[in-house]
Symmetry: C2
Subunit: 175 residues, 2 copies
């Protein structure tokens, strides 16, 4: 399987990575969440080539994660703003940041601290269950097949074929 085919997997992690899994893309989005909007500013802060930045921003616009909004008339100039789909990536960036804070801080403490304005306290993000509000831990969460995978497995069974494990299913269901 090639990287640019991973969106064909019946897997939400693979599909998400088909949009945000390129080098630099999540750092572009980090900067966008910090308020960066203009091409030159992204370029200055990230220090990547204009060509690469342009390619990454273009893909994020195409995928509806960023939107291009004119901020100057003559000549027309655009800035990049997070859409609802883009803002919905906030938990991905916060969980990456938290993992980096905990495991990659080199003993120097978190580079950035977060204050939750609603309660006024310094906060850490906690991933919790939408139903009981308890923290979600891998040992207490069972993945189960959704409708598409169930349908695919029923087809395999109908043909008398062996049912592979979940990672293999997610891949082959998309082929």
């Amino acid at each position: 399987m090639k990287w640019d085919e991973i969106d064909q997997q019946v897997c939400s992690v693979a599909r998400a990575l088909s949009v945000v899994g390129e080098r630099w893309t999540l750092l572009i989005l980090r900067d966008a969440f910090m308020g960066t909007r203009r091409f030159d500013k992204f370029q200055h802060n990230l220090g990547i080539t204009r060509h690469r930045l342009s390619e990454r921003l273009g893909k994020l616009v195409e995928q509806g994660v960023l939107t291009k909004v004119p901020y100057h008339d003559r000549p027309v100039r655009y800035e990049y703003r997070l859409t609802r789909k883009g803002l919905a990536l906030y938990p991905v960036l916060m969980t990456l940041a938290q993992w980096g804070d905990e495991w990659m801080d080199g003993g120097e403490g978190a580079p950035i601290e977060y204050v939750h304005q609603s309660c006024g306290k310094r906060t850490q993000p906690v991933l919790t269950c939408s139903e009981c509000n308890e923290p979600l831990k891998p040992e207490n969460v069972s993945p189960q097949m959704g409708p598409v995978l169930k349908h695919y497995v029923a087809q395999l069974e109908g043909r008398g074929e062996a049912i592979p494990d979940m990672p293999a299913l997610m891949r082959s269901a998309g082929e």
Copy 2:
């Protein structure tokens, strides 16, 4: 800045991506969370070259995300297991999966559903505040400089230099 220098940024997102930001790495970890442990199984499920898989697994072992454990004596064969540092990436994978479920399902529903065994219900992960348990939203969370960035800004001020915005600070503080 080159991609293999991003761990020098004073930024936990950049440091996290220096470990898990390569193509395929998060899909390898997805499979590990689903129970995959052996090289041939990873290779079969991901369909990437043995060379690339070996490089990715080697880096994850080197970074302490996976550990190699012998499961067969003669010849010695190893399997790969998530360490505590690796298990701590669970929220990153779950938030990616949830974003993919919400925004990339092509109208077919979530490929995989999650049951929280503690409460017995189908669950969605919610990112909440460690202090007040309310959901964390970007508009209600203020990033603030931690000790290292504060120290760096004090140095800039001491030299009478301009203080750049946060994304630029995170980059230049590591140079």
